[in-house]
């Protein structure tokens, strides 16, 4: 039953994406929806780590940045084909996550937060200061567009379909992991590491694996970002960006696949809608986030479902 509902949800989602991509011609809206897609990838990757396994990361933008910078350097400085740079970008991020994860994931709670925060800052400083490689604070210019065979992904529409196919694939992959034995084990770590260990879950190994997977997905988003905008600078991957990803996960709903999509959509669209408030923009933005958390403390996905349940119950009587 639940499985069926899920399949219907995916079908509706895919149909909506196709319809939107087909009908919308306005470059601005296409661009906006591409960014929603990228942010969904980021939120999804962090949700696996934070929502399901319960391990907070305040440095997730670092992996996003590693993905972007590796492909930028390889394709521009070394003239590697973008398609070949993809495994390098994702692989580098995963390797870094593996090395960073071994000591950091022994921490938990606030301490893990601090550890990952420090890591994020270090990576950000490397992007900014290693000018010969990364272009320094002024950024990296002239990244080539993505080419797969004869197809060049340059126009908004092409890129829209590319990004959203990747999002769709990642959504399905995450769903499958969560519904598996490994997914159950991940959620058990969230609820209590001691109890998880008592039933025989290798908590250390599993935490490291999900951290590496999460880093890989964030790097994939970074790769797509670099070939979308052709220009990257360290500011995009700063501490603030990490916090934005955390906010997307929390606002959307922890431990929810669709929460990642909702959170990413809201946080991408809000600033655009709020331009009308000009100098009060950030105030209104903050107020909206605060009210979501006060009235729907479990995030948009669960919150909306709860409200719906209450509505249905009150009407049954």
């Amino acid at each position: 039953m639940n499985d069926k509902a899920n399949k219907i949800a995916y079908a509706v989602f895919a149909l909506a994406v196709i319809l939107l991509g087909w009908q919308v011609d306005n470059e601005y809206y296409l661009q906006l929806m591409i960014f929603i897609g990228l942010n969904t990838l980021l939120a999804l990757s962090l949700n696996m780590l934070m929502g399901y396994a319960g391990q907070i990361s305040l440095g997730h933008a670092a992996f996003y940045g590693i993905g972007a910078y590796v492909t930028a350097i390889l394709t521009t400085t070394y003239q590697v084909a973008p398609l070949l740079a993809l495994p390098a970008a994702v692989g580098t991020a995963m390797l870094v996550a593996w090395f960073v994860g071994i000591p950091t994931l022994r921490l938990s709670g606030y301490y893990l937060g601090m550890g990952t925060l420090g890591f994020g800052m270090i990576v950000h400083i490397v992007f900014r200061e290693w000018s010969s490689l990364t272009g320094g604070a002024s950024g990296f210019v002239g990244i080539p567009p993505l080419e797969i065979g004869p197809v060049v992904f340059a126009s908004g529409k092409n890129y829209f379909f590319l990004v959203w196919s990747v999002v769709m694939l990642c959504l399905i992959m995450c769903r499958r992991i969560i519904d598996s034995r490994v997914g159950r084990a991940l959620r058990s770590i969230h609820d209590g590491e001691k109890a998880a260990a008592a039933v025989g879950v290798d908590t250390k190994k599993l935490k490291l694996q999900v951290f590496v997977l999460s880093a890989g997905m964030a790097a994939l988003a970074g790769f797509l970002y670099a070939h979308l905008v052709y220009f990257i600078s360290p500011g995009t991957f700063s501490f603030v960006a990490s916090i934005r990803i955390v906010t997307m996960v929390v606002i959307g709903g922890m431990a929810s696949i669709w929460g990642a999509l909702l959170g990413a959509s809201l946080l991408t669209l809000l600033p655009e809608w709020l331009h009308a408030f000009s100098e009060f923009e950030m105030v209104v933005y903050g107020l909206i986030l605060m009210s979501v958390m006060i009235f729907l403390p479990r995030g948009l996905t669960r919150g909306v479902l709860d409200v719906y349940e209450r509505y249905r119950k009150s009407h049954e009587r």
Binding site: R184, A198, G200
Partner: protein
């Protein structure tokens, strides 16, 4: 009456007859028989599948020699030696801080900082982590139950079989799920509910069932009676006895000394990290010092003597 085939040994036969007598009293033989049949049948079947029949002989399943456990620089256990016979219920009793839970944590690998020897079936378990120990047949029912509240009862049970999926087909796990729900029918009713919505007693049953899903040889229980009504405690002890009668080896850590000793074969009394008394459970039950200190009987005597 078809179920009579299950009761093969003399002890089973006599138990069967007393059940018939009781059921005559209640004029509801069907009900009593069914309960007994389910308990006996499931318990035997479950235990037979986990154990080879030879293990009913008395050899040591777990042997601990001169165990010392440390929390940083504090020594919580100061040289304990004990032995747990296969197919028996061994209980460890003692007040808060006597080192009962620490000992269990060391045996199941959650506390790696210890010296001495711990042997499972003659093999040292030094340096093994909890997953490796679960694979070797040690399952823990942790203190305070520690079920996974937001996960469904089904997911909790399946997590118990986490270490088994790689080796065997999921079919065997499904079978065991079914067995668990026969052993604890309440879990069938609650199958898809989040485990956090269960009552205390139900959660304890879930925690035991989860541990059994790993098909252990040695089941460790840390205060299963904590915070439960006496009737539920009795029920849980009954289940443990059924599992034991099928050959499962059980170590029971309890503050509720009376309930534990009544169910157990052997007992050890711990005090501030050392064994102060040991013996057959019924001897301990009759022991004057134990009565005074842990069973709350002869309260008057205690004061008169003082």
């Amino acid at each position: 009456m078809t179920e009579i085939g299950i009761f093969k040994t003399d002890a089973d036969q006599s138990l069967f007859h007393s059940v018939i007598q009781i059921s005559n009293l209640f004029r509801n033989s069907d009900f009593v028989l069914r309960i007994y049949g389910i308990l006996k049948h499931q318990g035997l079947e479950l235990a037979n599948r986990w154990q080879n029949p030879k293990s009913s002989k008395k050899h040591a399943m777990l042997r601990i020699r001169n165990l010392k456990c440390f929390y940083g620089r504090i020594m919580a256990i100061k040289g304990i030696s004990l032995s747990v016979n296969a197919g028996e219920i061994t209980c460890l009793i003692g007040a808060n801080g006597s080192g009962k839970s620490t000992l269990l944590s060391a045996v199941c690998g959650l506390l790696p900082d210890w010296t001495g020897e711990i042997e499972l079936k003659g093999q040292s378990i030094k340096g093994l982590d909890p997953p490796a120990l679960v694979r070797r047949g040690i399952s823990l029912v942790p203190e305070g139950r520690l079920i996974f509240p937001p996960l469904s009862v089904m997911d909790n049970l399946k997590l118990g079989a986490y270490t088994r999926y790689k080796k065997k087909a999921a079919g065997a796990v499904e079978e065991d799920l079914e067995s668990m729900m026969s052993l604890f029918p309440i879990l069938r009713e609650r199958f898809r509910q989040p485990a956090g919505t269960l009552s205390g007693g139900e959660q304890q049953m879930l925690a035991i069932a989860r541990a059994l899903m790993a098909r252990p040889r040695l089941l460790l229980l840390d205060e299963p009676s904590m915070g439960l009504a006496p009737m539920i405690v009795e029920k849980i002890m009954e289940v443990l006895e059924v599992l034991r009668s099928g050959g499962l080896t059980i170590v029971l850590v309890e503050q509720n000394a009376l309930a534990a000793l009544e169910a157990a074969d052997r007992g050890y009394v711990l005090e501030t990290g050392a064994v102060v008394l040991q013996g057959a459970a019924d001897e301990l039950l009759a022991d004057k010092d134990v009565k005074r200190a842990y069973l709350g009987k002869d309260y008057g005597d205690f004061y008169d003597a003082g």
